[in-house]
Every structure is written in C-alpha cells, then in structure tokens.
C-alpha cells in the first residue's frame, strides 16, 4: 500500500491547537508526524458491525483521529453483549448500538465525524454505503454479510480489513488491497448452514474480539499512513489459549469468482441464497417445528411431551426446561435413550443445534419430533421472563 499511501492526503485538512496537543504522541513518531496525522484526519473508515470487533475498532480509530467513521448496525444493546462489546455500557442496554457507539466515540474524540447507517447491509444498499468511505473494517458475525462485504469491496476496489473470531481463536487479514487476494480467494464457498457453530452457539472469550479488533485497527491505521507491512496476502491466526500466533500465506486465486482473471461475479448477488439460507418460513408452516407458545399450550393441556435438550451440560446448569440432556455431539451414540413413538420436542439455546438434531432423528425414522423455535431464548422471552438468559 506504500504506493497508495498518499491517496488520503488532502491539502484542506488542518489540525487545530487542541488536536496538535491531543495527537502529540503520534506527531513525534517519525512514521506518523504531522503529515500522517493529517492523513488520518482526511481518511474515512466504515465499520460493518458495532459489536465485539467493531468496539475496539471504533474506540481506537476514534482515539487515533480518523476524520470520519461510519458504522452499519441495526441491533439494540443487550446485556449479553457487555461481556465483550466495550463500546456499550450497562446503562446503554435497550438503546440502539449506533446511538451508544456515537456517544462513546464523541466522548473519546469530539473531532471525529460519525455517520450512522441503521440498517441491515444488503445487496441493494452495500455499494452505496461502502462507496462513501476509503476503507472498510469487517466485524460481521455471519457468512452472508462477510461475502457481501468482500464482494462489494472488490467491486469498489476498497481495502477490507478482515477479522473473525470463534471461542478462543481469531483470524485477521487485509483483503481487496491492490494486487492482493480477497476473502473468496481464501474460501470460495461458505459452509452450509448449521455445520459451523456461530459465536452465539459456540461462545467466545470476551477478550478475544478485543485483541482481534485491535489488530484490525492497527492494520487500518497502517494502511492509511502507508507504513509498515500490512497483512496483505497473509492470514494471521491467533489462539488465546496457547497464546500463539501463526501466519499463513494467501494468494490471489486467478480462478476467484470475483477478483480472478475471468471473474464470473460482476455485481452483488443474493448472499442469503449463496450461503444456503432459505427465506424464513412462518413458524407454524413448518411441520418440524413448534413455537414456545404452542409448546406451553401443549404442556398446560397436560399432553405428554418428551423434552430433549441438546445443549452442553454447562448451558443446562444456567437454565433448562427440565429436558433430558444429550449434547448434540453425543446424540448419535445415545439415540437409544429416546423413544421414537413418543411426542418429542428438542430444544437448544436458539434453535440451530436442535434443528440439526431434529433432522438427524427424522433420518433415523423418528416421526413425532419437533424443534422448539428460537430455543430456550424464545421460551425465556415469551413464556418465562424469570428464566436466566445467556
């Protein structure tokens, strides 16, 4: 990026006396200096997601003096976010994440212009939103948005500072930089839904997004300043348990569908479809599923329903519906504990794992088994508000 390091230099940027005092520790660094600080002020960065990765990104990019920070998010701060999303505070629970993000950024650095996009990034709005920024930092939590952000960045020729986390492990790289690879060069296709657990299901060490998001912030600043060796063509792997990092070589794939020599994708596609996620059917349309309200009604009528809990024992300890506990991974070898003639409702935290369990049991010939839609979360939300949530 050294050759493009000057793209954010603007002659109309000036630093006030307050800013010169504020950024003094940058200004005395030869690699930053007054010129570098003005590049940071002239630069604009879009954060996709104001969650675990977006939090340290927003905090450090604001503190560093990035001139304009855009944030795309549509979520509301939930108590379960606070373990890692340090952009938001306990008093923000229930507020839109964008509002608490803007307030926090301005309390750190009132010089930063904040632009908020209260929307779900999609194929119709992505090019318009991303197009207004110099760089994109990807802190999303799902595959459709990852591929959408990647493809939009490739089409717009914007560097995409990528970070991803799972439990104790993270990945960081810089995609879509001139001559470098993109996310599709690394992974041409997403995994089918359900095969890879999400953080909501698999859990995540709260500190991990802090580390990975901070590395993304460092890469973003380096790209803007045009200094050092950014993670272009390199995938950094971080494991918090062993405290080891590894680095893998990434190459631009000449056969890549979007950035290859004969790219087949020339505009944004339907990413939900690409990731195999069918449009959600109405809850009652699905013969394999039952809503929390319908289950409650069944139980209230005194109907005999066998409840199967496919979560992990430590989740069961937090809250349960009194179901028989067989973690999803143990189900194949413990299936003999179930009676296929019995009306069975399977539940997990949010309905993903139990959905897989229902599919598995159906394949074995179970006819009377249904998935509790939205899992124990939905039960806690609509039936039993006193139930602990996690």
């Amino acid at each position: 990026m050294r050759e493009t390091g000057g793209r954010w230099s603007r002659t109309d940027v000036r630093l006030s006396r307050e800013e010169i005092r504020r950024y003094g520790r940058h200004l005395i660094l030869p690699e930053v200096g007054l010129e570098g600080q003005m590049k940071l002020k002239a630069a604009s960065v879009l954060l996709v997601g104001a969650g675990g990765l977006g939090s340290p990104l927003a905090l450090y990019l604001a503190a560093a003096g990035i001139g304009r920070i855009g944030i795309v998010d549509f979520d509301v701060v939930d108590e379960s976010n606070l373990q890692r999303q340090v952009l938001h505070s306990t008093t923000d629970v229930g507020r839109p994440k964008l509002d608490s993000a803007r307030d926090r950024i301005h309390s750190i650095n009132p010089n930063v212009e904040v632009e908020l996009f209260n929307t779900h990034l999609n194929s119709a709005n992505a090019l318009g939103i991303l197009g207004g920024f110099d760089l994109v930092a990807d802190g999303t939590d799902n595959f459709p948005t990852r591929y959408l952000v990647n493809d939009a960045c490739v089409l717009l020729k914007k560097p995409n500072v990528y970070g991803s986390i799972f439990r104790f492990e993270g990945q960081v790289s810089v995609f879509s930089a001139p001559g470098g690879p993109c996310y599709r060069c690394l992974y041409a296709d997403p995994p089918p839904p359900g095969l890879v657990p999400s953080c909501a299901e698999g859990g995540v060490l709260g500190v991990l997004p802090g580390i990975i998001g901070t590395i993304q912030a460092a890469e973003t600043v380096k790209l803007i300043l045009g200094i050092g060796e950014p993670l272009i063509g390199r995938l950094l792997l971080f494991d918090a348990l062993t405290m080891k990092t590894r680095e893998l070589k990434l190459r631009r794939n000449p056969d890549c569908a979007i950035c290859g020599d004969h790219a087949s994708i020339t505009e944004l596609i339907d990413y939900e479809l690409f990731c195999g996620i069918a449009p959600a059917a109405g809850p009652e349309d699905d013969e394999n599923a039952i809503s929390a309200a319908a289950l409650k009604a069944k139980l209230d009528r005194g109907e005999s329903v066998f409840l199967l809990d496919v979560r992990e024992p430590r989740e069961y300890e937090i809250a349960n519906l009194g179901g028989h506990l067989i973690p999803l991974n143990d189900l194949p070898r413990r299936v003999h504990e179930l009676d296929s003639s019995q009306d069975t409702v399977v539940y997990c935290h949010s309905g993903m794992r139990s959905g897989q369990a229902v599919q598995f049991l159906k394949q074995l010939g179970f006819r009377k088994v249904k998935n509790l839609l939205g899992g124990i979360e939905a039960w806690a939300e609509s039936i039993d508000p006193a139930m602990p949530r996690y």
Binding site: V48, G49, A50, G51, G52, L53, G54, D73, D75, D138, G139, T140, D141, N142, F143, R146, G163, S164, I165, F166, R167, F168, E169, Q171, L186, Y187, A188, D189, P190, P191, L195, V196, P197, S198, C199, A200, G202, V204, P209, L235, L237, D239, L241, T242, R246, E247, L248, K249, L250, R251, N253, N329, P332
Partner: protein
C-alpha cells in the same frame, strides 16, 4: 514417521478436544484420511459426499496452502506441520 496436524477450535469437538494429532503418512491426503478414520465424525466437516476437500476448509503445509502445492498429493515429512483452517464467521454478535 509421525506428522503433526493442528486442529482448529471449531473442529476440536470431533477430536476429543485435542489441539493437535500425530499421524503417519507420506502425503496430505493420507494424513487427512487417517485423521477421519480415527475421528469419523470429522469426515463430513472436511470432505463432501464425493470425497473432495470442502471449499470452506483450507489445508496448509507449514505456511503454504496445498491448493498452490500438489493439493492432497503434497508430500510431507516429519519436520512439516499440517494445519486445517476452516472459515469462521464470528465478530458482531
């Protein structure tokens, strides 16, 4: 001649929580098939129904992607480390 295969967090559920597994083999393909023979539930996460390595799972010998070496025929020796690196999505939630 045993070669170390590093197992990523999402797949450790299928390898008795092991972070790495030592296996004998001359090529990456032999090692991966040995791995899925030892840990059968891992198979559907690494290979599709036709037996090809899945597109969202990359395999590296040291820091080099086997797609740019000799793919599953890539030769390995004792000093090499094989890494399985699947795509992970987390961040925002």
């Amino acid at each position: 001649m045993a070669i170390r295969i590093l197992i990523p967090t999402p797949l450790r559920a299928y390898t008795e929580k092991k972070e790495s597994v030592l296996l004998e083999g001359n090529t990456v393909g032999e090692l991966l098939r040995g791995l899925t023979a030892t840990y059968a539930p891992l198979k559907k996460h690494l290979f599709d129904d036709t037996g090809s390595l899945r597109n969202f799972v990359n395999v590296y010998v040291n820091d080099e992607d086997i797609r740019y070496l000799q793919k599953e025929q890539t030769q390995v020796s004792e000093k090499d480390t094989v890494s399985i690196v699947p795509s992970i999505a987390g961040g925002r939630s």
